[in-house]
C-alpha cells in the first residue's frame, strides 16, 4: 500500500525558517551535547530564548551532510506553559505532546525497568522545559556552535540547567552493541537532501515539517497561532541505556561458534557490524559494502526476500523501516528521521561481564506526527509483531522482553525460535519536544505579560 498525496498544492519549503536541527543528518564522526533547562520565571525564559536566537541556525548548515554543525532549541509542553504561551494555543497542541512522554509509557512500552517511575530525574517530572542541543563533526566546531548558547543561559537568572548529557561517536565508529548506525534516512521533498535509499521516493514535507501537505494529502494538525506552528516539528528525545554484556552473553549462549554468533547478531539487527545489510549480504559481513554509502542502503525486500530468509521480518532495522515488505498498513505514513548518538564508554571487545558503566544512546526521533510516526512505530512495529504475522513478538534488540520474549528467525527447513529474551535496551528517560521554526522562536520571545 502506498499513500498517494493528491489535490494538495505543492508549497516550497521555507528552509531558512526551519531549524537546522530538524532535517539535517548526523555528522560522521560526531560530538554532541544536550542541555536540559527549567524555566522558573517566564520573563527570564523569554529572555533566554532571545539570547539564544542568534545561536540557532535555519536551513542547511553545510552542503556536505556529514560535516554540518548546529545548535537547536526545543520546548516541552511544560516549557511552553512556563513561558506563558496562552492557554488557547497550548490546547491546540496534540494530546500526546501535551501529556508528555512519561504519560505515554503504556503506548511506548516503557514498563518494568523502563517505567517512568525508574527514570533518571529530571526526565518525566515536568521540570524539563527547554532542550538545547548541539551536534558537530568535532569538539572544536561543537564548542563554536554552543558557545553563544552557553553564554545565553549562564547569564540568564531564572532559568536553571538541570541535566546535561554529552554524546560522541565511539572510537569504533559503531554503536555500543557494535554496529554501524546512522545509515538510513528518508528523502524529503523540497529539501534538496536525497534519502539514503535511492529506491524510496522522497516523502512529502508535511511528514516532517508543519505547514505543508503530508502523505495523506492533508496538512498535519498544527498548533496555533500559525506563526508558532509553521515550520516546526516534534522530537521524541530518549536516553536509552544499552546492556551490552547481556547482549553478548545472549549471543554466546545461543550459538556454537564465532561465525554463528556473528550471524545471529546480524539476524537480530538486520545488518552486519560493518553496516552491510543482510538483504544484500545474507551469509557473511561485507565491510566494503557496509562502508559504501551509495550501496549500503540501496535495497528493498519484497521481490527478493519477502519472507525474510535473508533479513528476518523480525530484525530491528527491517521492523522500523519495512520498506516495501508485505505488512499491515501503509509504510509511508510511518517514516521518521532517527538521529542516534552514543554516550558512555564502549564495553571493551570480548568482555561478557557488565562493568557497571552507563552507556547507550540518546535517540532523537523527528516527525510532524508523534502519534502516527514515533508512537505507532513503538507500539506496532517495536513492541508487537502482528504487522508482520508474528503477533506478540517484539523487536529483538529494542523491545522490552523481561526474559519471556521470543523471536522467530525464518530459515529452511525449520524456522529458528529464540526464547527467553532479556531486555537489552532500557529507557532512562525522555521528553516530547516541539522544535519551532525561527519566526516561532521570535514570537515566543515577544509574548506579553
Amino acid at each position: 500500500m502506498n499513500a498517494v498525496a493528491s489535490g494538495a498544492p505543492s508549497v516550497p519549503l521555507e528552509m531558512d525558517d526551519i531549524q537546522s536541527g530538524a532535517l539535517h543528518h548526523r555528522p560522521v564522526p560526531y560530538e554532541g551535547w544536550f542541555v536540559f533547562l527549567r524555566v522558573d520565571d517566564r520573563h527570564d525564559g523569554r529572555a533566554l530564548l532571545r539570547r539564544l536566537l542568534p545561536a540557532v541556525q535555519g536551513g542547511l548548515p553545510s552542503a556536505d551532510p556529514n560535516r554540518g554543525a548546529w545548535a537547536a532549541v526545543a520546548l516541552t509542553y511544560q516549557g511552553l506553559r512556563a513561558l506563558g504561551v496562552p492557554q488557547e494555543s497550548l490546547d491546540s497542541f496534540p494530546l500526546e505532546f501535551r501529556q508528555g512522554m512519561a504519560a505515554r509509557a503504556d503506548v511506548l512500552g516503557d514498563v518494568g525497568e523502563s517505567d517512568p517511575a525508574n527514570w533518571e530525574p529530571p526526565f518525566g517530572t515536568g521540570d524539563v522545559h527547554i532542550v538545547l542541543s548541539g551536534l558537530a563533526p568535532d569538539a572544536a566546531r561543537l564548542e563554536k556552535a554552543l558557545e553563544r548558547a552557553r553564554a545565553a543561559y549562564q547569564e540568564t537568572p531564572g532559568v536553571e540547567v538541570i541535566y546535561q548529557q554529552e554524546v560522541h561517536q565511539l572510537p569504533t565508529g559503531r554503536t555500543s552493541f557494535g554496529f554501524r548506525d546512522g545509515i538510513s534516512y528518508p528523502g524529503i521533498e523540497g529539501t534538496g537532501i536525497p534519502g539514503s535509499n535511492p529506491q524510496e521516493a522522497p516523502l512529502k514535507a508535511g511528514e516532517f515539517i508543519l505547514g505543508y501537505p503530508d502523505e495523506t494529502g492533508n496538512l498535519p494538525p498544527m498548533p496555533q497561532p500559525e506563526i508558532l506552528g509553521r515550520n516546526g516539528t516534534y522530537l521524541a528525545v530518549r536516553k536509552l541505556h544499552t546492556k551490552v554484556a547481556a547482549w553478548r552473553r545472549y549471543l554466546r549462549a545461543n550459538t556454537a561458534s564465532e561465525a554463528e554468533e556473528a550471524l545471529l547478531g546480524a539476524k537480530m539487527i538486520g545488518r552486519w557490524p560493518s553496516g552491510a545489510p543482510l538483504a544484500l549480504a545474507p551469509d557473511k559481513d561485507d565491510p566494503e559494502l557496509g562502508a559504501d554509502p551509495s550501496r549500503n542502503n540501496d535495497f528493498l525486500y519484497r521481490e527478493d526476500d519477502d519472507r525474510g530468509f535473508k533479513c528476518p521480518a523480525t530484525a530491528h532495522v527491517r521492523r522500523v523501516n519495512p520498506r516495501d515488505a508485505t505488512i499491515i498498513g501503509a509504510i509511508r505514513l510511518h517514516r521518521i528521521i532517527r538521529r542516534g548518538t552514543s554516550y558512555g564508554p564502549p564495553l571493551p571487545e570480548g568482555v561478557l561481564e557488565d562493568d557497571g558503566a552507563d552507556r547507550g544512546l540518546v535517540g532523537v526521533f523527528i516527525g510532524a506526527h508523534l502519534d502516527r510516526q514515533f508512537e505507532f512505530i513503538k507500539s506496532e512495529w517495536v513492541n508487537d509483531g502482528n504487522f508482520i504475522g508474528y503477533s506478540g513478538e517484539k523487536d529483538p534488540v529494542a523491545g522490552h522482553h523481561d526474559g519471556t520474549g521470543s523471536i522467530t528467525i525464518p530459515q529452511k527447513p525449520v524456522r529458528r525460535r529464540l526464547q527467553n529474551l532479556p531486555t537489552f535496551v532500557v529507557t532512562r528517560g525522555g521528553e516530547y519536544c516541539f522544535l519551532p521554526g525561527l519566526r516561532a522562536l521570535r514570537w515566543l520571545t515577544e509574548l506579553e505579560d
Partner: protein
Amino acid sequence: MTASTEATQSAQPERPGLTDGVASEFLVIAKIKPGHTDALRKVIEAAQAKMDRSGQIEIGTLHTARALIFDNDTRFLFASVFDGSWDTYIDDFAVTVAGENFEKTFTHTEGFPGMKDPKVKEWFVANQVPAGLFTTSYPDLTVKQIWKDQRVNEAFQEVLDTPEFRELLDNPAAAALRATPAFQRLLDEAAG
C-alpha cells in the same frame, strides 16, 4: 498561496468500545442524508455481491464486518470486529481499497467529513455506540494468526493423508521423536 490556514487540530478523543483479548468491537450508527437511502443501499448490495475478500486481505486485521440500513430507512449501522484499536490504523485505512469503500458508503451519511479528512477520527468517535457486552471465542488469536493456523492445519491434514508419512511413523527410527511430549500432542491432534 500557502496551504496552511485550514490546518485543523484533531480533538484526540478518548477511544470508546470494548476489547476482549486482541480483538476490539467497533459499531457506528449514522443518520442517512435525506434522499440518499437508495444510493446507500446500492453501495451495500454491490459490495456484498462482489465480495472477494481482497479488502480483508489488504487490511489484515478485520475479523467480521456488517452493514445495514434500519429505523425505517433513516439510519445506517456498521459493526466490525478487528485486531488492535481501530484508530491505530485509521490513517492507513484511508489509503486502502477498503477505505475507498468506506468513503463510498459513509458519504451518504450526515456530517461525514471524508476518510482523508483529519477530523474523520472525531466523526467516527462521535457516532460510535460502544457495546455493553463483547466477547470472542478466540481472544488470543489475531486474523494473521488464524490465517497461519489454517494454512498449517491444511498442510498437516495433507501430510496425514500421505502414505509415506504413515510408513515413517512406523519406522523404528522415528521412535525417539514419537516419544517426545511435543510430538505426542501432534499425534493426539492427528488421531481425530
